[in-house]
């Protein structure tokens, strides 16, 4: 057998000169190989450039209070992006993440304030709501073999309707809630910065999910299922069980997101978070996770959420109209997906 002849680890040994010619490494293809191997690299670069540019445009941007504000603004979308990443990694998509989170937050708030349930019990039942919603999505995807897009488009409307039916359309104010429910909104100083508990919670979730995805068999199976479902099945991976567990895990993360949302907005409102469903997808896509599944990193999604937060904050500090923020996010999505397509064309 021929040994590796071409330079660079991804290049396979080819004795045929014509093949070698086709596979020659240009600087561009080398960059592509690196981006392909480290999916979180491109969003990291974008974030760095954005921070530098916005810092130069407005000196207020880089002040610690502003940076602390950005992290707080990002905490809810960042948490939803964790759930969204898990599902997108399996080549699915969840349009209902925001709706599930709002439903859970309304259940928690109503139980604690309206029914006088103890705060920990209310939170626990919120977790049950999140798991039930995930179970419903997972059940429809695995048992009825419906595309996740259609399933979650349906459940999105169901959850919105349930939220409004259950809450009667009224907002529960944070001041009337037990302290534990709004605890995620409280801040504590770390040196000159004020960090909110919600941000810490979000980061802990990221660390936990990154560990599970990277270090456990389950994590590897999630990637394998998203990569090639049939190949995973033939390798003996229980594909449906993995998919179901992914939707359940996403539901649990969303319930914790509901807690963060209550703290962040200091209220539980049935009309909040309409944009959150799509914002979470935006964060994941900008973070370099492929919508085709099996490729991406959870840290990319955190970077993606931060990029969106930085763009919104930076553009408004630069004095631009809100509409330009939306415009910028739209451009970001298209650029991110184009880069993903380009990276996926990588061949050795």
């Amino acid at each position: 057998m021929t040994q590796q002849q071409t330079a660079g680890p991804p290049a396979a040994g080819h004795a045929d000169p014509a093949e070698e010619f086709l596979d020659r490494q240009t600087p561009l293809s080398r960059i592509r190989n690196i981006l392909h191997r480290y999916p979180a690299l491109s969003p990291a670069i974008v974030l760095l450039v954005a921070v530098v540019v916005f810092g130069l445009l407005n000196e207020r941007f880089l002040r610690v209070e502003n940076l602390s504000l950005i992290t707080q603004q990002v905490s809810v979308v960042g948490t939803l992006a964790i759930a969204q990443t898990l599902i997108i990694l399996t080549a699915g998509i969840d349009l209902s993440v925001g709706a599930v989170m709002i439903l859970a937050s309304m259940v928690v708030a109503q139980l604690a304030v309206g029914s006088g349930a103890p705060a920990p019990l209310a939170l626990l039942l919120g977790l049950v709501v999140g798991l039930a919603a995930g179970a419903l999505n997972g059940f429809l995807v695995t048992r009825f073999r419906l595309p996740p897009f259609i399933v979650t488009l349906g459940t999105l409307n169901i959850f919105i309707a349930l939220t409004l039916l259950y809450s009667g359309g009224s907002t529960v104010r944070g001041s009337s809630m037990p302290g534990l429910l709004t605890w995620m909104g409280s801040t504590f100083p770390v040196g000159p910065v004020r960090i909110s508990t919600g941000v810490v919670m979000m980061l802990l979730l990221y660390i936990a999910v990154a560990f599970i995805l990277g270090k456990t068999a389950w994590g590897r199976h999630v990637y394998a299922v998203g990569d090639d479902k049939e190949a995973a099945r033939l390798a003996g991976i229980p594909v449906n069980r993995v998919l179901m567990s992914v939707y359940l895990a996403a539901g649990a993360v969303l319930a914790i997101g509901a807690w963060i949302q209550i703290g962040r907005t200091n209220a539980a409102s049935p009309n909040a978070g309409v944009d959150l469903n799509l914002d979470s997808i935006t964060a994941v896509v900008i973070g370099g996770t492929s919508l085709f599944g099996g490729r991406g990193s959870i840290w990319g999604s955190l970077l993606g959420a931060l990029i969106v937060g930085v763009f919104r904050n930076g553009l408004s500090l630069a004095g631009l109209d809100v509409l330009y923020q939306t415009l910028a996010v739209g451009v970001l999505i298209i650029v991110a997906v184009s880069i993903d397509q380009w990276i996926r064309k990588v061949k050795s």
Binding site: Y223, G236, G294
Partner: protein, 264 residues
């Protein structure tokens, strides 16, 4: 080519590793298998050829648990078995490499070899936190590749999508042959490959055979079949038309038997 030392006469006394008797499988009114018998002996490459619709795939699916035969019996090392799912066949050491290559492109070589049978770290890290023993699996993957004589895969940390078609096939074959399997079934392993890569895979098949692992090879490619097979099972119209050897018959004979123009 050292495939010619094989003596069909000697196999009569040896016990077959895999034995099928009178397998029948119908799909509604279509007869897929009409009483097919097959023996696979240790250390041989048995090719299965046949025209489209002759029952090659159905036969293989029955042997590997992907289909359940209507009647007939299967024995592994003399013990009767009933496969209901591919996992059942795998438990008995029958591993299959499917035509569409059951590898996960984004995962690296070692992860693919251990896909579905990952190993965890010893101690509390593995038991409680279920942490994978990535280093150990990479080391074992390397050992296993060396043992199988697969030299095309030097670096087990490369994602499979960065490999050539032949190397990917090698990963799939290695996974099937590794970890104490008894029989490797290869479904059209050279169908999508170029000349050079096909030769690599055929060499791999010979290497497996030389290490005592019997191989069932399904192929349309007559030169490849005659190149590596010790015996050739010819399917025709749901039945075994003949079992020949590359020495007893020519390729033309085989095609004639396949199409019904001649009998063995």
């Amino acid at each position: 080519m050292t495939a010619t030392e094989f003596q069909p006469a000697k196999t009569e006394v040896r016990q077959p590793i895999l034995q099928a008797r009178n397998l029948v499988k119908t799909f509604g009114r279509v007869v897929g298998l009409d009483g097919v018998s097959l023996d696979l002996y240790p250390g041989e490459v048995l090719a299965i050829i046949g025209d489209n619709g002759a029952g090659k795939s159905t036969l293989i699916k029955c042997l590997t648990g992907a289909e359940i035969p209507d009647s007939g019996e299967l024995k592994v090392s003399g013990q009767p078995v009933h496969f209901k799912r591919p996992q059942d066949a795998r438990v008995h050491g029958i591993e299959t490499v499917y035509q569409n290559l059951a590898v996960s492109p984004a995962l690296d070589v070692a992860s693919n070899l251990f896909l579905g049978r990952e190993e965890r770290l010893p101690g509390p890290l593995g038991k409680i936190f279920r942490v994978l023993d990535t280093k150990g699996m990479r080391r074992k993957a390397k050992e296993e590749l060396t043992r199988l004589g697969i030299s095309t895969l030097q670096d087990v940390t490369v994602p499979v999508e960065n490999l050539s078609g032949g190397q990917r096939q090698a990963v799939a074959v290695a996974r099937a042959a590794a970890f104490g399997s008894k029989v490797v079934v290869l479904d059209e392993p050279t169908a999508a490959l170029g000349v050079r890569e096909s030769n690599q895979v055929l060499q791999l098949v010979r290497d497996l055979r030389d290490r005592g692992l019997p191989v069932i090879l399904i192929s349309h490619n007559m030169p490849h079949v005659f190149d590596v097979a010790d015996r050739i099972h010819i399917q025709r119209l749901g039945k075994c038309a003949a079992t020949i050897t590359p020495q007893s018959h020519s390729m033309t004979d085989a095609v004639a038997i396949m199409t019904g123009a001649a009998t063995a």
